[in-house]
Amino acid sequence: MTATLSRASRAAPPQPGARKIKGVGERLSAYAYIAPFFVVFGVFGLFPFAFTFYVALFDWNPIGDQVFIGFDNFTRMFGDPRFWNAAGNTVSIWALSTVPQLLLALVLAHVLNHARLRFALFFRMSVLVPYVTSVAATAIVFVQLFDRDYGLLNWLLGLVGVEPVDFVQSTWGSHLLIATMVTWRWFGYTTLLYLASLQSLPRSVFEAAAIDGAGPWQRFRHISVPSLRPVIIFTVVTSTIGGLQIFTEPLLIATGAPLTCGAVRQCQTLTLFLYEQGFGQFEFGYGSAVGVALFVMVVAIAALNYLLSTRIKAD
């Protein structure tokens, strides 16, 4: 970050008093130039955001009455087992996807950073392919791979005598399926983040360690990991925020009951629950309340990130 900033300031050095700003028009024109972004942001970002807090206080039927009910939606939410079920599913899917994803990325980045790796560019680019594949396509393929009757995975399990597993219909199976999709999609991106950070380290450190007799594991454990600490925290936080918002994958895997992700909401995440209430049941008020709760969680995690990263800088 600091590198980018200093490079930018070098490229465009400030020139105080180079030219006097003339007239009100020119003064205002700057605002006009930036207006398109802020107008669009206001209309599609800020306004819906603020409006959500307002709607959350109503029993809001989009084609009927809007009745002010204060905090009743929130009281209902805290007593609603479907909300807690969705929260539990979200945490479970997040844990199942983030931990393997970050570990895998860490190891891959270390390997891709190896000085004697051939076709390094090819491998570094390949890990990004899942990231640029559309989520819908990924979901279709993975659901087929994990299918109970015709899936490749169950066929392989059958070869070793395991009874077919109904991944989508079981709680753990569906979480595993979604987590696999999320991991598949994001591990390459995370790998590249780690790799970029590793490459900013002087190679001489690794070489010196090797000369001193440190093996690959020791170099990984004592050089790569500690130097990656800030970026690891960054990826933990971003993947946590992303994990709270997992939506498309659960929506697409249980095609018979998409909005609940299965008959017993076995893989319904918080965002999917929000969507089901808002746009399936058209309970806009209740859906908005879930949205507010989600917002509070994301802010809390972002605050935690801020605390952790300032602590690290202080170290």
Partner: protein, 421 residues
């Protein structure tokens, strides 16, 4: 340029904003000659629209196939809340109550002359689109009589009769249907039907005289013995090992259909199209028998005109022409949707209609018979949500190893969460 550019920009931004303001976008002009029509996909609405254009070449129809019936209802809700509305919209029966609760969003069709045609339609079907103060919001386009589609080849292989009268005699009741399933399973070792939730429970619960609401529109789903009996049948089928545990309309369900995994599938009249399109290679291997219990209705749709429609008159002209008894009979002969107008039930064009895909079964006759002696029940705003939770509870037992003993209580709890009472 100095002063003008920001003003120009501001003007451009303003223009952009007004262009996006909902509710003011124009459809066709209000000339009575063109209208916009939202329908479901995959029901061949195009054919009927073209038939109307042939009769009225001066009228222009913009047909949009929004998606499934649920997606169409969702889009309609969004549009009513503040967007561009169509002039004419098809609403599936299960989605209708939520709109009937809010009649101010629709044109009261009595103002266009609905009272004159009321007598053409099945009374209990008509009544479902009447709001609390008597406003008529929709005209029924079709009904979903019930039957069972079965595979003659698979039945023969299992030593069961294949003639449709003999097969109908196998299952006068749902218990007998489940027993037949067990027999089939014993001889072949294979699943008999696709699932318990939709193929058994959802059919049985649509054969009652009172469903989730009482006649005076009070919720009785938890105390109505008829609902409990249908639910118990669903659980019985789920635990009897006669289903292949594929939820209706999922992709694996379609695959199973194409591969001939189900010997018998409950088939409301609109399901025939679905079987035809998911398993085209099974043509001629199916036949149609009576539904256990003899009668029942599931589904059917309505045409409604939103209040903000630009061309309500043009839309009404279409309804009047295409949903007349004769229009519905022609529609039946085109796509197989069952008319909601009883006067044509004896018409030879309906009774003689045979479907080659289903071994020349007389579909018109079989399905209209399932509507005779039907006891109408009130469908309320939460009926769909309640039905879904019951389905989910049975699916849980059937596919996810849920405990059948607690399924009923689980379902009641889930319904309470879903509808808040």
């Amino acid at each position: 340029m100095k002063l003008r550019s920001p003003l120009l920009l501001a003007a451009a931004v303003l223009a952009l904003l007004t262009a996006c303001t909902p509710g003011t976008g124009g459809g066709g002009g209000g000339d009575g000659k063109s209208f916009e029509f939202w329908s479901f996909s995959a029901i061949n609405q195009k054919l009927t629209v073209e038939a109307y254009k042939a009769k009225r070449p001066d009228v222009e129809i913009k047909l949009t196939e929004v998606g499934t019936s649920t997606e169409t209802a969702q889009s309609l809700t969004t549009a009513l809340a503040g967007g561009k509305v169509p002039d004419l919209v098809l609403i599936q029966g299960d989605n209708l109550p939520q709109f009937v609760e809010q009649p101010q969003n629709f044109v009261d069709l009595r103002t266009l002359g609905a009272d004159e045609v009321k007598g053409d339609y099945l009374d209990w079907v008509w009544r479902q689109s009447v709001a609390k103060d008597g406003e008529v919001l929709g005209v029924p386009t079709d009904v979903g009589g019930m039957a069972v589609a079965y595979r003659t080849d698979l039945f023969a292989a299992a030593g069961l009769p294949t003639d449709r009268a003999a097969v109908s005699a196998l299952w006068p009741s749902w218990d007998a249907f489940i027993e037949t399933g067990k027999r089939y399973k014993q001889t072949t070792g294979k699943a008999f039907t696709d699932n318990a939730a939709t193929s058994v429970f959802y059919q049985a619960v649509n054969q009652v005289s009172e469903k989730y609401y009482s006649e005076d529109r009070k919720l009785v789903y938890s105390t109505n013995p008829q609902v409990k009996a249908a639910f118990d049948l669903g659980i019985k089928a789920a635990t009897a090992g006669i289903t292949s545990g594929q939820s209706s309309f999922e992709s694996a369900w379609s695959a199973g259909m194409a591969q001939g995994q189900y010997a018998a599938v409950s088939a409301p009249s609109w399901m025939l199209n679905s079987i035809r399109s998911t398993a085209p290679d099974t043509k001629g291997k199916w036949d149609i028998a009576k539904i256990p219990g003899g009668s029942g209705n599931w589904g059917g749709s309505y045409l409604a005109i939103p209040k903000r429609a630009k061309n309500p008159q043009a839309a009404w002209d279409y309804i009047k022409e295409m949903q007349s008894p004769q229009g519905q009979l022609e529609h039946f002969n085109r796509v197989g949707a069952l008319p909601s107008t009883p006067s044509v039930y004896q018409d030879s064009k309906l009774t003689d209609a045979k479907d080659p895909f289903f071994s020349d079964a007389p579909t018109g006759k079989i399905y209209t018979e399932s509507l005779l002696g039907l006891k109408p029940f009130y469908i309320g705003p939460d009926s769909a949500a309640i039905g879904q939770e019951f389905l989910n509870a049975i699916t849980n037992v059937e596919q996810s190893g849920g405990n059948p003993a607690t399924a009923w209580d689980d379902a009641l709890r889930a319904i309470k969460n879903a509808i808040g009472e």
